[in-house]
Point group: C2
Chain length 421, copies 2
């Protein structure tokens, strides 16, 4: 039995994981419990400075149960998905020794030790920006560090997959492919890195967070409905996506933006098409999403070759991937012209890499008002003030990392509780 | 050579043709010139009292060229589609004798005689309500009468098809199937009547004409883009639709509303899905369309079995087909609750069969304001004043007919010109 002094130690690890945006979409599971998809998918990892989850995990013999805090609020850990990830990591735990603190944990001890988890996102949760992808990737990655897990990233991605499918792709930076796998137990359904974040560093990513008044269908229930009712989904998964995956890998390897953009837009639209082909139909895009697509399509058409690709996840937000910083600033001018801010605060209308504003020649609200109508738009062009909540400017980014600086720790090692709660 | 007296005769015929709404959609041509579709389709013909075209055709040796007036304005007749219909009818023309007027036209004379055509729609043109279907069906039907064409309705439908694909289905009342046919020359691509308008006379059709600020893609160019770019279209046409056609025929024959409604909604959504799967994507439905779908889906779900089916053509307008008059009045209450009129004029907010308003217990604007929120909606329910322009209440109706009463004639037999121009 542990002495009082032994019982009071708290061992912590802190990590940070990026979110990711699929350019060939994952939609539909062939196994609900194991989260096995009906097709491969490919994503780009976003710069964790702009969109990421930070998580501290702590273990102590003093903890009577597993507990978790998300963005400062305690949440139930009863969900099967958390438990799956915890169980898989505990299985692979090894001996840990912290000489400085004088703590020794034998690998067989981990089964008995409870954990506390504190996590926060540096971007809005449940705004359709893949917060669960970043969150589960970070949980699995950081638990692995805490428990000295030795497995390769592929196996970690396979564990993260069981928390949230797309989380498996947030285990790597750059461009990442989730191979659907063939095995019934899901052991070969994992992510691989196609290229790292330095391979195609011209790309600029602008996210338009679109105001949504309608309640969204969750991805989990939406996918299930699509698998059960859409006649088009299996054809997409079995016949259309495999060819697109090959072409997309090729486009990424060769930095062929034209092919990349065409595939990205077409696949986003096809994902929303199978949502619409579901009974009852699922609408994630709204009129604002449609207007942003039209704006991009018109401009790309006027340029003769794609300058910007768009993709939409399970919500109305537009993710625009620009060929380079110049085209990003030009599409931003168009976006700001059509969707001026409702509030008189430019600073909160552009977050992430704010320097894109000066590239676009916009330093003030007056500069937005002075923007000329884009030549390819029919005059008089309509403006839709307030239809975009704000923009985020980002870029392809790196994968998860350990934060060793104590200032990042989200759990108080004295109390074992989330800080500031 | 004709004498002066002979040269002055004007022979006229006037007909009226209904519009139709597809419940299994036609989208995509396998032959652009002949207008041959990639799949069969099925439609319901609407009551011509509410949505129809009326057309007068006139022939005279005094006419130096073919001319046409649509809704009182002269339009160019140069389009290949008009010419195709005219040519095909002229080929089949027979001897005509009007003993009263003392006019005799030999069948070989028709090739040399020019025609004047005047047509008007009793509903808004180009509002996405199949005005071209009614228009071309009426043109072919009425030209056939003028020229004493003896062909059966199947062959007339095949000629109307060359004006506007869906026009072939407006040659019959009730429920109509357009058989895509197999022949390269299109000779077997024609409409057949499944049942006449008396077979299922419980049905009530409510059309919500939705305000649209966006320019629509024309059906012709939209279809072409879908055929060229959507990977899902051919799968829909070859694999999904054939099964649906058989089930829909069965549902109609047995008046199985549940099956009818499920097929109608699913096929409308799939048509819009392949539009979305097009590059660049085509959006015909807008947020108001989506809200009407949600309203119907929620109510049908609450009832446990479908009470109302929805279908959308190439525009944002909702066509709702109610099981019977009672369910029509209940869905109308819900529609009026969510979409109250913007103008203070109830009379122009419901056209067609206005008696549906009293069935719904609505006699005044105050009655609309007093409508309780539908129990299946989450409170507080949102209202969207002005998002619907007006409603039309109709029912399944009869096919084309000749109007013999001279008061319906749209061409002045003295001048040979459209009346009131």
């Amino acid at each position: 039995m542990a002495t009082e002094a032994e019982a009071q130690w708290v061992l912590t690890a802190t990590g940070r994981s990026p979110t990711n945006i699929a350019v060939i979409k994952y939609w539909g599971k062939r196994d609900e419990a194991l989260i096995l998809p009906v097709n491969d998918s490919i994503s780009v990892t976003l710069d964790p400075d702009h969109l990421s989850a930070t998580t501290t995990v702590a273990a102590s013999p003093a903890f009577p149960s597993d507990r978790m805090w998300l963005n400062g609020k305690e949440i139930a850990l009863s969900g099967g998905r958390f438990q799956s990830c915890l169980r898989e990591i505990r299985k692979r735990a090894r001996d840990v020794e912290d000489e400085k603190k004088g703590i020794k944990v034998k690998k067989e001890d981990w089964e008995k030790l409870h954990v506390h988890i504190a996590s926060y996102n540096n971007f809005p949760t449940a705004a359709g920006l893949a917060s669960s992808a970043a969150g589960f990737a970070c949980l699995v990655f950081t638990l692995g560090k805490l428990m000295n897990v030795n497995e390769d990233y592929g196996e970690l991605s396979s564990i993260a997959r069981q928390g949230s499918g797309s989380a498996c792709r947030s285990i790597y930076g750059g461009f990442v492919k989730w191979c659907m796998g063939k095995n019934d137990d899901g052991s070969d359904s994992m992510a691989v890195q196609l290229v790292d974040e330095s391979h195609w560093d011209d790309l600029v990513i602008i996210i338009a967070v679109v105001s949504s008044k309608q309640k969204e269908t969750s991805s989990t229930s939406g996918m299930r409905d699509t698998v059960e009712t859409s006649p088009l989904l299996q054809y997409r998964a079995q016949t259309v996506v495999p060819g697109r995956i090959l072409k997309m890998e090729d486009a990424i390897k060769n930095r062929n933006f034209e092919s990349f953009a065409r595939l990205t837009c077409a696949d986003s639209n096809q994902f929303h098409a199978v949502c619409l082909d579901t009974s009852p139909p699922i609408f994630y895009m709204n009129d604002t999403s449609h207007r942003i697509i039209s704006l991009v399509e018109k401009w790309n058409h006027a340029e003769g070759t794609p300058q910007v690709a768009y993709t939409f996840d399970a919500g109305p937000n537009a993710v625009l991937i620009a060929r380079n910083r110049k085209t990003a600033s030009l599409v931003l001018q168009r976006l700001l012209y059509c969707f001026p801010p409702q509030e008189n605060d430019l600073d909160s209308y552009m977050v992430g890499d704010k320097s894109i504003l000066s590239d676009a020649g916009v330093q003030s609200l007056a500069d937005i008002e002075a923007l000329p109508p884009p030549p390819e738009m029919k005059s008089p062009s309509q403006k839709f003030k307030g239809d975009v909540s704000y923009f985020i400017c980002s870029r392809p980014g790196a994968g998860p990392k350990v934060l060793t600086d104590e200032s990042h720790t989200l759990i108080d090692s004295a109390t074992g509780l989330a800080k500031g709660v």
